[in-house]
C-alpha cells in the first residue's frame, strides 16, 4: 500500500482533468465525481497510514520514486514522494477535510453556471496540495507550492466578472509571489551549499552540512515564502480580500489547507531552522506578532468572512509561535484542530449567507438561532472550540502551546500568548453572538440550509469536539506528539514558574471570561456596540481597517510603482517612440527636401553639369 501512495494525488488530478474536459456532459455529476475522488484519496491515505504503522517507529520514512524529473549536468532531481508521519498527517487532513468541503460545495454551488469548472479547479488544488505535503525534496514541494498558489488565484477570482474578486485574486497572487520568490532563492541557496534538495540529505542529522550562516539565510528565505503563503505579518494583506471567493474556497484553501502550508514547511525544515537558531526566533516573533495583530483586527471587522479570515491569520500565528518554540507537535495539533473548526465555521457562515441572500455584514444579522438553529449549533461548537473551552479540540491544541511557553521558561512570551488566547476567544465569540443571538436586525426569512448540506458539517463538528481529546490527551505528549516524533524530534518539556494545573486553570479562566465578555457586549443588549464607531471613530477606524496596513503598503509600493510606471511610459513614448517617429519625420523631411533639386530651371541644371565637368577636368589635370 505504501508504494501506491502516488494514487492519492493522482485521483484528484484525474478528477480535475475529467471535469475540465467532460464537465459539460457530466453536469450535476461533476461535483459528486470530484467529491468521490477526494474521498477515495482519503480512504487510500488511511490505508497508507495503517501500513505505515506496521513499521517500527524509527523506520517510518518511505520514499517512493515516481520518475526522474530533471537531469541536467550536476543538477538532478527526481519526482519522489515521501510517506512519513508528518506527511501522512497532512495528507489525511487535506483529503479528509477536503472531501467534506467538496461534499458541502456540491449543494452550495449547485446553481452556479460554471460549477464543473469550479470542481475541476478545486480538485486541482487538492492535487497540488498533496504534492506539496507528500514531496520528498524541495523542488517537488515548490511545485506543489506554486500550484496551490495558482489554484488559489483561480478560485478567489472564480466569479471573475466581479471586479472585486478579480482584484483580490491578483492581490493574493502578487503578494504570495513575493514570498515565493524569496523561497525559490532559498532553495537555490540550499542547492548551492548542500548540493542536494532531497529531504533525506538536507534534513538529516547534520542539516546537509550547512554552516550556520548558510542555514540562517536559507531558513529566513524559506520563512519568507511561508509568511506569504500563510498570510502572516507582513505579507498578510491578501487574505481578508481573498474572502471574495466562494465560501467553500475560503474554507478549504484559506482556512484548512493552503494557509497551513507555511506551518508545514517550517515543521518539515525545522532542522535548518534549528541549525540557524536566529531563524527560529524570527519564526516565534512573527507568529506572536501576527497572532496579536490579527486578533485585534478581527474584533473590528463587520464582514463575517473577513472576521474569520483574520481569525485564521491569528491561529496560524499561534502555530508559528509553537514552531518557534520547537513545539512542532503542538503546532501540528493546532493545525489539525483548526482545520476542523475553522472549516466548520466558514461553511456555517456559508449557510447564513445563503439564508440571508448573500448578506455578510454582521450588523445586518442577529437572532438567527431561532430561524437557523442547526447552523447556530455548528457555529457555536466551532467557536467554543477555537476559544479553548475544554474538552473541545481547541482547548488541547491552543492551551498546550500557551502552557509550553511558560514551561519552557519564556515568561514574557507566555504573557503575550495568554493575551492572544484571551483575544481569540473574544474575537470568535463576537460573530457568534452578533449573528445568532441578540436582537433580530434582518427582516429576511432566513431559511435553514437543506439537510444534505448539514452532513459534512456534522462530521466537522465531531472533529472539532473530539480531535483534541483523541490526539492530544496526555500531558507528556499525546498520540500525535508521539506519532510525529520520528520527524520532529522529542519534545523537551521543561518546567516553568507555574505548574501545569495552574496554567490550565488560567487558560480556561481567560477563555470563559472572554466568552462572557463577548456575550455581555454583543448579545446581551446592555452595551450599545452599534454606536461605538461614532463615539470612538479613530479607534474603530484602526480596528476596522486592520491598522491601515493596506494603506501603508499602497503608499509604499503603489505610489512609487505608479510613478515608475509613469516614467517608463514617458520613456517609452518620448524616447523610444520618439526616436522611431523622429526617424520617420526625418525621412519625410528628406523627401521634402530632395525634390528641391529639381527646380525646373535649366540654368541650374546646366550649372550643375558644368561644375561637374570642371571638377572632372581638374581631376584629369591633376593626374597628368
Amino acid at each position: 500500500m505504501l508504494d501506491l501512495v502516488w494514487l492519492i494525488p493522482a485521483l484528484p488530478l484525474a478528477g480535475a482533468a475529467a471535469n475540465l474536459f467532460l464537465g459539460r456532459r457530466l453536469g450535476k455529476a461533476a461535483g459528486w465525481l470530484a467529491t468521490a475522488l477526494v474521498g477515495l484519496a482519503f480512504a487510500l491515505a488511511v490505508g497508507v497510514l495503517l501500513d505505515l504503522l506496521t513499521l517500527p517507529g524509527e523506520e517510518r520514512a518511505h520514499a517512493v520514486r515516481l520518475f526522474g524529473w530533471i537531469a541536467s549536468g550536476a543538477f538532478s532531481v527526481d519526482a519522489t514522494l515521501r510517506v512519513d508521519p508528518l506527511s501522512i498527517t497532512m495528507t489525511l487532513v487535506v483529503t479528509g477535510v477536503g472531501a467534506l468541503i467538496h461534499w458541502y460545495a456540491v449543494g452550495y454551488m449547485a446553481h452556479d453556471p460554471r460549477v464543473e469548472r469550479f470542481f475541476a479547479e478545486l480538485n486541482l488544488f487538492v492535487f497540488f496540495m498533496l504534492m506539496l505535503v507528500l514531496a520528498d525534496n524541495f523542488l517537488v514541494l515548490y511545485l506543489g507550492w506554486e500550484g496551490v498558489g495558482l489554484c488559489s488565484y483561480l478560485l478567489i477570482g472564480f466569479w471573475c466578472q466581479r471586479p472585486a474578486a478579480a482584484s483580490a485574486a491578483k492581490k493574493a497572487f502578487v503578494t504570495t509571489r513575493i514570498g515565493d520568490a524569496a523561497m525559490l532563492l532559498g532553495i537555490v541557496l540550499l542547492w548551492i551549499h548542500a548540493g542536494s534538495l532531497d529531504f533525506d540529505v538536507v534534513l538529516g542529522e547534520s542539516a546537509g552540512g550547512l554552516t550556520r550562516g548558510a542555514a540562517t539565510a536559507i531558513s529566513l528565505l524559506l520563512l519568507a515564502g511561508a509568511v506569504g503563503k500563510s498570510a502572516q505579518v507582513p505579507l498578510h494583506v491578501w487574505l481578508p480580500d481573498a474572502m471574495e471567493g466562494p465560501t467553500p474556497v475560503s474554507a478549504l484553501i484559506h482556512a484548512a489547507t493552503m494557509v497551513t502550508a507555511g506551518v508545514y514547511l517550517v515543521v518539515r525544515a525545522h532542522v535548518l531552522f534549528e541549525a540557524s537558531g536566529v531563524a527560529l526566533t524570527v519564526v516565534l516573533v512573527v507568529g506572536l506578532v501576527s497572532a496579536l495583530y490579527a486578533a485585534l483586527a478581527s474584533i473590528g471587522q463587520w464582514d463575517i468572512k473577513r472576521a474569520l479570515a483574520y481569525s485564521t491569520m491569528s491561529q496560524i500565528g499561534f502555530m508559528f509561535f509553537a514552531a518557534g518554540m520547537r513545539f512542532y507537535a503542538g503546532a501540528m495539533l493546532l493545525l489539525v484542530s483548526h482545520a476542523f473548526y475553522k472549516a466548520l465555521m466558514f461553511l456555517t457562515s456559508g449557510n447564513v449567507m445563503h439564508g440571508l441572500d448573500e448578506e455578510t455584514d454582521l450588523r445586518r444579522m442577529g437572532g438567527l438561532r431561532e430561524r437557523m438553529p442547526v447552523s447556530a449549533t455548528w457555529f457555536a461548537i466551532g467557536a467554543l472550540s477555537l476559544a479553548g473551552i475544554p474538552p473541545l479540540a481547541g482547548f488541547f491544541a491552543k492551551d498546550h502551546i500557551v502552557a509550553f511557553a511558560s514551561e519552557s521558561g519564556r515568561e514574557v512570551a507566555w504573557v503575550l500568548a495568554s493575551i492572544g488566547a484571551f483575544l481569540s476567544a473574544l474575537y470568535i465569540a463576537r460573530p457568534l453572538f452578533l449573528a445568532f443571538f441578540g436582537a433580530r436586525r434582518n427582516p429576511a426569512a432566513a431559511h435553514e440550509a437543506p439537510w444534505g448540506m448539514h452532513g459534512p458539517l456534522a462530521v466537522l463538528a465531531a472533529g472539532s469536539v473530539l480531535a483534541g481529546a483523541v490526539l492530544g490527551l496526555a500531558a507528556e505528549g499525546g498520540l500525535l506528539d508521539r506519532f510525529l516524533e520520528p520527524v520532529t524530534g522529542v519534545v523537551e518539556v521543561g518546567h516553568g514558574a507555574l505548574s501545569g494545573a495552574a496554567l490550565i486553570a488560567i487558560s480556561v479562566a481567560l477563555a470563559v471570561l472572554a466568552v462572557a465578555t463577548a456575550w455581555w457586549v454583543w448579545a446581551s443588549g446592555r452595551v450599545d456596540w452599534e454606536a461605538f464607531p461614532q463615539r470612538q471613530p479613530e479607534l474603530a477606524g484602526w480596528l476596522a481597517n486592520a491598522f491601515y496596513v493596506n494603506a501603508l503598503y499602497a503608499w509604499l509600493v503603489r505610489a512609487p510603482g505608479a510613478g515608475v510606471g509613469r516614467v517608463l511610459t514617458t520613456v517609452d513614448d518620448r524616447v523610444i517612440d520618439g526616436a522611431v517617429n523622429e526617424v520617420a519625420q526625418d525621412v519625410g523631411r528628406a523627401s521634402r527636401l530632395a525634390p528641391l533639386v529639381q527646380s525646373g530651371f535649366v540654368r541650374s541644371y546646366g550649372l550643375a553639369f558644368l561644375l561637374g565637368a570642371a571638377a572632372l577636368l581638374l581631376f584629369l589635370g591633376m593626374r597628368f
Partner: protein, 191 residues
C-alpha cells in the same frame, strides 16, 4: 615686329572683348552683332594659322548664314526686348563666373602642361602641308581620307532641313511660310 604678332595683338583683344560685350548686351540684336564681330576675328585667326579656306568659310557660313538666321528669328519673334538684369536664381551668377574663371584657369594649366607657352609653330607649313594652296590641300584630305564622313554630313543637312520643316509647320500658313523659308535659306547656305 613680325606681321602676325601685330595682327594677333590687334585682333585678340577685339575677339575677347566682343565676346564679353555679347554677354553683357541686354538687347538680343546687339548681342548678335557683337558675335558677328567675334566671328570675324576668328576668321582672321584662321588666316594667320594658314587655314585660308576656313577663313572664307567662317565668314560665309557663320557670320553670313547662321548669324543672319539668328537675326531673322530674333526680329521675327520680336524678342529683342530688353532683358531684366535681376537674377532670380540665387548664386547662379556668382557660381557661373567662378566656373568660367575656373575653366579658363584649368585650360591655361593644361595648355602650359601640354604645349608649353613658348612653343612656336613649325615653319614649313605652307610648303609641306598647304601644297597647291590650302583649298587644294584640304580637298585632297577631305575627299580621300574623310570622304565617308563628308557624305554623312550631307545626309545630316538634309535631315536637318526636313526636321525644321516638320517642326515649324503649322496650320496657319502665314507663319509657316516664314519659318520654312528661313530654314530653307539656312540649309542652302550651309551646304
Amino acid at each position: 615686329m613680325p606681321l602676325d604678332h601685330v595682327v594677333f595683338w590687334v585682333f585678340a583683344p577685339v575677339s575677347v572683348g566682343s565676346a564679353i560685350a555679347m554677354l553683357l548686351q541686354r538687347n538680343a540684336v546687339h548681342a548678335a552683332l557683337f558675335l558677328i564681330v567675334n566671328f570675324f576675328t576668328i576668321s582672321v585667326f584662321y588666316l594667320v594659322l594658314g587655314a585660308s579656306f576656313l577663313f572664307a568659310v567662317q565668314i560665309i557660313v557663320y557670320a553670313g548664314a547662321i548669324m543672319v538666321l539668328f537675326l531673322f528669328v530674333i526680329m521675327l519673334l520680336g524678342v529683342d526686348r530688353h532683358e531684366s538684369l535681376v537674377e532670380r536664381l540665387r548664386g547662379q551668377r556668382t557660381l557661373a563666373i567662378a566656373l568660367g574663371v575656373a575653366i579658363a584657369l584649368e585650360l591655361f594649366l593644361a595648355i602650359r602642361a601640354g604645349v608649353g607657352f613658348a612653343t612656336k609653330a613649325p615653319p614649313g607649313f605652307d610648303e609641306a602641308v598647304n601644297r597647291g594652296g590650302n583649298a587644294a590641300a584640304l580637298a585632297r584630305v577631305l575627299f580621300r581620307d574623310y570622304f565617308f564622313p563628308f557624305e554623312v554630313t550631307s545626309i545630316l543637312l538634309i535631315v536637318a532641313a526636313v526636321a525644321v520643316v516638320v517642326l515649324a509647320s503649322r496650320r496657319r500658313r502665314a507663319i509657316t511660310r516664314a519659318g520654312s523659308e528661313a530654314a530653307a535659306a539656312g540649309a542652302e547656305e550651309a551646304a
